[in-house]
């Protein structure tokens, strides 16, 4: 049986990963298609329907401008996910390259790069993100940059540590002896073997990235109106919490479900790819 088939089979048999995958599939479907299918606009205001409670016409109610909350959540989810994904992707790419290079060359380069990474890591994540937003200014690009900077050290450390382990493996030594260039070794021999924990970390990262973005936008520092992001919707809901508690509460619930899916998926992947826990994974 081909490798991917075996892997897929293992995924399906692991209940956690399966549950996570199903939830994520629903969420992704909602985000990509659902937003277009909704009859309402995410942006246009409807002054007649301000802050109306959940009903058949508006399953999650309307916000303080009369906009349908479900539509905004679907659009907002797309934006939040994209922002978080972009940030984590940049962090993963930059961090992995840095970590691998650091481990491979060792010595002073290693010490310097890891020192820099540790420095970033020593700051509490949200404070670092916040600080960057105030300094760089608000808006989507800077949120992505902030998330990237927060996650960079995690990927760098992880990539470095796993590369250190793999570096001494026989097949890597063999490649070196055969005269293969450093870059080639890094990408062909080492990277595929360290990819697994990085992917798991990425899924966790995307989940937390959404929370960071939500937090920043919640404080008013992230995405700007009228673009909805999950944090923006919750900030609006918080402003009018007494009058319309459903906006904040239900949006948060939707986020929690999406994050639950991501986390379960990440868990399942970790169970599947970590050789030490493989025995427990096959329940």
């Amino acid at each position: 049986m081909p490798l991917w088939r075996r892997r897929l089979g293992a995924l399906v048999r692991n209940r956690t990963a399966l549950a996570g995958a199903v939830i994520m599939a629903v969420v992704l479907a909602g985000i990509t298609l659902g937003a277009e299918l909704m009859p309402y606009s995410a942006v246009d205001m409807d002054f007649a329907n301000i802050l109306s409670p959940p009903s058949w016409a508006h399953p999650l109610g309307t916000d303080s401008f009369g906009r349908d909350v479900l539509t905004r959540v679907l659009y907002g989810g797309r934006i939040s996910l994209l922002i978080s994904f972009a940030g984590v992707l940049i962090a993963a790419a930059a961090g992995t390259l840095t970590g691998m290079a650091s481990a491979y060359h060792g010595g002073l380069t290693d010490a310097a790069l890891m020192r820099f990474s540790d420095l970033l890591f020593a700051f509490p994540s949200f404070v670092l993100a916040l600080f960057l937003m105030v300094v760089l200014g608000f808006g989507v690009q800077n949120v992505i940059l902030a998330i990237a900077l927060v996650y960079f050290p995690i990927f760098a450390r992880l990539a470095r540590n796993t590369t250190l382990l793999i570096k001494e493996e026989p097949f890597v030594q063999a490649a070196r002896l055969m005269g293969q260039g450093a870059l080639r070794i890094l990408f062909r021999e080492i990277l595929p073997n360290i990819a697994a924990p990085l992917v798991v970390q990425a899924s966790v990262g995307v989940a937390f990235g959404i929370v960071i973005e939500a937090g920043l936008s919640f404080l008013g520092l992230g995405v700007q109106p009228p673009i909805p992001s999950l944090g923006v919707i919750m900030a609006d809901g918080r402003e009018y919490f007494q009058r319309g508690p459903w906006v904040l509460t239900l949006t948060g619930l939707v986020i929690s479900i999406a994050l639950l899916g991501l986390n379960l998926l990440g868990d399942g992947l970790r169970d599947l790819t970590d050789p030490r826990l493989r025995r427990q994974a096959e329940l």
């Binding site: 205001m45 402003e239 007494q242």
Partner: protein, 523 residues
């Protein structure tokens, strides 16, 4: 280490023990004790703000600073509950035909440090405000004063270069900066130290002040109104979120709030455990337009954006009905200067708006950034305005959210196209029109200049007859609306929330607070 070695059963009992501990601390004596009548403590939250930089009236600019200043200082005059000007530190006053004023002060007034207040202190206070080197932000209130004479310890004479009608108003204990200071103490301490440990004549003294957290006041034994204050102390926590202020009040952590979120007012009014004070406020909210940059350098474009939105809808959506739409800068509460007749250029009319747009240099698709700040209703004003104008005219106006200080700085530097702005607590029409629209007005960030309007405003400042003065301001507003230097939006209501235990709170439309503490008592 030993703790971890206990077996699993003990861990569970540890958990039980911890929850028991939590329960007992619930019953703990935590609520701040409030005795009966005299010596009681009022917890008056400052909601919606958390910045107080100084308590020196000569340097104060922010409204929360004034909230406290009004409790610890007095002015020569003050407003009573009918918004009439009545004597405060002065016992009586005379207005001469040439506009100069003579005040007879109370004889037995003492500052918090026990020293007596005399006319020397009044002279010192006003001259300090006039001093260029001191650079007081409130200088313009008294800049018309030519000479202050301390005739005898209880008599002061103030002469102005020309008749200056708003002077009486500017000498009240409002957002004016003319509260009377102790000459000896200020000279001895220096301005900076005084700003942190102020000494005044008011009913309360500052006991403690923790920046960004709270101000604690205690009753002054020297207050010259017999029998006041009724309270023993006032705790003023600084609560930056208005909605947190509401939850704090409902949860009985505070007794009084200085504002209330517009959206919650109708619901709060239905409750029987709190009281809601509301009335039309003395304030103005508008969109400031920069005349020095496109696209608002064109009068037809400015008119178009004013015609392109529905102010009533904005009041409904942004204020949840807690306010009135405005067609000028002067609020309706200043009845003598306010013209209630609606104006064409400030009434929603899509067709007319498009006509004006056609006459202007700029067409549909014009872009501009409108500055605003925060997460609350100031931001919503920008959102609602741009959405409506874009829909009517096809322009591409977008909202740029930063923070309040940045918006202020950029306006002053002329580095903006449009911005949401407004003023709160102004008590005289001169503050609304002269400061904002006079060519050299120090709040004229628009770069607007109309010599005919300038003349009219100067004339209005010097007209001592109230009726005639009011008429001049009505003319001035009608004139300036043709140019549309700013787009008037609305005038919002002022709100205070109080627990039912609080009595004696008097709400005035200029967002008063500390001044009314002296007559409050807690049941």
């Amino acid at each position: 280490m030993a703790k971890r070695r206990r077996n699993g059963l003990s861990r569970r009992s540890l958990l039980k023990g911890a929850s028991a501990l939590a329960m007992t601390s619930l019953a703990g004596p935590w609520l701040v004790g409030r005795a009966g009548a005299a010596g009681a403590t009022l917890r008056a939250g400052i909601t919606g703000y958390d910045v107080i930089n100084t308590l020196d009236p000569g340097k104060a600019t922010l409204i929360p600073e004034y909230y406290v200043i009004w409790a610890i200082f007095n002015g020569l005059l003050k407003f009573d509950e009918k918004m009439e000007i009545v004597p405060d530190l002065a016992e009586s006053y005379k207005v001469e035909p040439d506009g100069s004023l003579e005040f007879k002060l109370h004889a037995n007034v003492k500052f918090h440090d026990g020293s007596a207040m005399t006319s020397e202190d009044v002279k010192f206070t006003l001259e300090r405000l006039l001093d260029d080197k001191f650079a007081s932000p409130n200088r313009s209130k008294v800049s018309a004063i030519d000479q202050v004479t301390a005739v005898d310890p209880t008599t002061v004479r103030i002469k102005t270069k020309e008749p200056f009608a708003p002077l009486l108003t500017f000498l009240t204990n409002a957002r004016t900066g003319t509260q009377i200071l102790p000459k000896g103490a200020v000279e001895q301490m220096g301005a900076e130290a005084f700003g942190r440990k102020p000494i005044g004549t008011g009913a309360f003294m500052v006991k403690e002040w923790t920046a960004k957290e709270r101000v604690a006041l205690e009753a002054s034994p020297h207050y010259f109104y017999q029998g006041l204050p009724k309270l023993g102390a006032v705790e003023m926590p600084l609560i930056p979120e208005e909605s947190s202020g509401v939850t704090a009040l409902l949860g009985n952590q505070i007794d009084l709030t200085s504002t209330a979120p517009f959206a919650d007012v109708p619901e709060l009014e239905k409750r029987t455990d709190i009281r809601v004070f509301r009335q039309a406020g003395l304030n103005t909210r508008f969109i400031a337009l920069n005349h020095r940059k496109p696209p608002f350098d064109d009068v037809h474009f400015r008119r178009a954006v004013s015609l392109a939105f529905d102010r009533e809808a904005m009041v409904k959506v942004v204020l949840f009905g807690e306010g009135v739409s405005s067609h000028g800068l002067i609020p309706p509460s200043l009845k003598f200067a306010y013209d209630p007749k609606p104006r064409e250029l400030t009434t929603f009319n899509a067709a007319r708006a498009k006509e004006e747009l056609a006459k202007s240099k700029y067409k549909a698709g014009t872009e501009a950034a409108i500055l605003t700040w925060g997460a609350g209703w100031w931001k919503r004003v920008a959102e609602v305005w741009t959405a409506q104008v874009n829909q009517t005219l096809g322009t591409v106006l977008r909202v740029e959210v930063t923070e309040a200080n940045t918006v202020y700085a950029r306006q002053r530097a002329g580095d903006f196209q449009g911005s949401v702005w407004g003023w709160l607590g102004f008590v005289d029409p001169d503050e609304y029109l002269y400061d904002v629209l006079y060519s050299k007005g120090y709040r004229n960030f628009q770069g607007y200049s109309n010599p005919k309007l300038d003349d009219l405003l100067v004339k209005a400042r010097q007209e001592l007859d109230r009726g005639k003065r009011g008429q001049l301001y009505k003319e001035a507003e009608a004139m300036m609306i043709e140019d549309m230097p700013i787009v008037p939006c609305f005038c919002s209501n002022v709100h205070n929330l109080a627990s039912t235990k609080v009595s004696g709170f008097v709400q005035l439309p200029y967002s008063n607070y500390g001044d009314t503490f002296q007559s409050i008592s807690i049941a």
